[in-house]
Symmetry: C2
Subunit: 324 residues, 2 copies
């Protein structure tokens, strides 16, 4: 493949002039510019981006760390990031971690190695202090309800949203409430669990540890929940469910067991993804896609000012439908 030197030689100019044309610098005479463009055309030249990266010390690429792509929540988040990234002409490099810390570190190592200019963590499993080691190498954005000062973050107020759901159920006369959470190890789950325990105390209801069901992530996990429900001697009258997928799975599986929602039990979930609308599930909207675009904007902001570390909080909204 031809290189910039060859173009220069054939066009009868210097390499810097070619470079200037390539980068739309001012101060290039039209004559030379034309000659260069013509030669580029003729040789079907395309510049080697790796050389540009090496020379500039940056790549206009950002790493996106997420546990799995194949889940509506992360797909939507990623789509938000991708759309915004395209507007800014930055490419996305994917790091699918399956919640594996080593894979997350891999992304950070690629940051050190200058493959990417920064990282957006859609989910995080590595310890915070490990992250700090990489602070300063490049912008790092967290999509979590973070309570630290070092990095910008984008999220909703998870505990508040959770309490909103709980309060709504209570306002509808429910006191025997079970909850379905995602990964119990996650900080979010810990906070939600605490909020649940507290709320039960406030309304004078017994706290039943067995009414906290973990690992509820996908639609098929809804079946698991119903299976457990059927086993229980004492039944809850309502479920607060971590995401629409699981709620949808529960409702479908309930029907398979001659149970109806909300008559046998009420369900409220999170996300307001399309499935909840079509199934009439009452849900608390999480603006997933905007979370993604905001995360990317925070990345841009931090790349302009390394000290930028705002905590962006997006609002949630309750959609009353027919499952409560």
């Amino acid at each position: 493949m031809a290189n910039i030197r060859e173009i220069a030689r054939l066009a009868g100019v210097s390499v810097s002039t070619v470079s200037r044309v390539l980068n739309n610098h001012p101060y290039v005479s039209t004559a030379k510019k034309d000659a260069v463009l013509k030669t580029i055309e003729k040789l079907d030249y395309s510049r080697n981006i790796n050389a540009v990266h090496l020379s500039q010390g940056k790549t206009n690429m950002v790493g996106v760390v997420l546990p799995t792509i194949n889940h509506p929540y992360f797909s939507a988040l990623l789509e938000g990031i991708a759309e915004e990234a395209m507007k800014h002409n930055v490419q996305l490099v994917l790091f699918q971690t399956d919640y594996n810390q080593d894979k997350e570190l891999e992304a950070l190592e690629q940051l050190r190695g200058h493959l990417i200019d920064g990282v957006i963590f859609c989910s995080r499993a590595v310890q915070f202090d490990l992250l700090l080691n990489y602070k300063g190498i490049g912008p790092t954005v967290l999509c979590e309800d973070a309570d630290q000062q070092e990095f910008p973050s984008v999220s909703i107020k998870h505990v508040e949203a959770f309490n909103l759901g709980l309060d709504y159920l209570v306002s509808k006369g429910h006191e025997k409430i079970a909850i379905c959470l995602g990964r119990l190890e996650g900080t979010n789950s810990q906070k939600r669990k605490a909020a649940y325990e507290k709320k039960m105390k406030v309304i004078g209801e017994k706290f039943r540890r067995e009414w906290i069901i973990g690992q509820c992530l996908m639609i098929e996990d809804g079946k698991k929940v119903i299976d457990e429900y059927l086993e229980w001697d004492e039944k809850p009258t309502a479920f607060l469910v971590g995401n629409d997928q699981v709620a949808a799975g529960m409702i479908a599986e309930a029907k398979n067991n001659e149970l109806t929602v909300p008559e046998d039990f009420a369900v409220i979930s999170f996300d307001n993804h399309p499935i909840s609308k079509i199934l009439g599930i009452t849900t608390i909207e999480i603006p997933t896609k905007q979370l993604g675009s905001s995360a990317f904007m925070a990345y841009i902001d931090q790349s302009k000012d390394i000290e930028y570390s705002d905590k962006i909080v997006l609002p949630v909204k309750l959609w009353e439908r027919k499952s409560v």
Copy 2:
């Protein structure tokens, strides 16, 4: 950041020796190797991957072109690609195109610019001959039922699968069959349309153009289908639907209109994604994730032998459930 020269100087060896250590080359004395490793450790050195890329003329990255990330089909495909890519230590660079040809070309230009070593097209809108211009620059894999020889491809037999669905409906006594397709412009839709018309002729049924509904991609499109159905004077007794999402949306919306499946009309769809299982939708399984991993394997094969252009066809499977 320290570079290889500095490491060499401090460790008292040459840069080549450092490079050898970095790349696990044999023929480095343990003494020097240790010295180098110690210095690397001490300076917290990390090698600049852009320099490596420039020097080697490749990046171990592959571009993935897809219209949208936020759809179960493409998420699953991407996940398959990502898992396989990880095994081979290659990074994925995302190109979300929204079926826009320019965006697809962008990926090909990045290939020319050596940002990526090759491209996997999860969907394609650009003309074939345009693709040919880039042939030879790097491995290119198509995830489509391709009938050309230039590139390897991975897919299912779309027309066969479509006929399988049609035949199944006919075998269950249905003759008044409507179909829901995705993007009507796509080659797949064209082929399916033709197959539909032909089948109607074979069973001696009238071909009704208005019973072909396009733009059925997402769960919310199911509502649109039901809206149309309600308008029709003459009703079909069955629908063959392009994907599970739409089928799910249709069934939910049918229920909202006091219609029941399969009593009022039967539904069979494609994918066998989790939602179809939980809703009891009869479906033709498309091994989406394997399609992704196979695509990546084809990429690897082609990177070893540029002439490699096998057409990989994965089997589909009918899952009889309760919607027909």
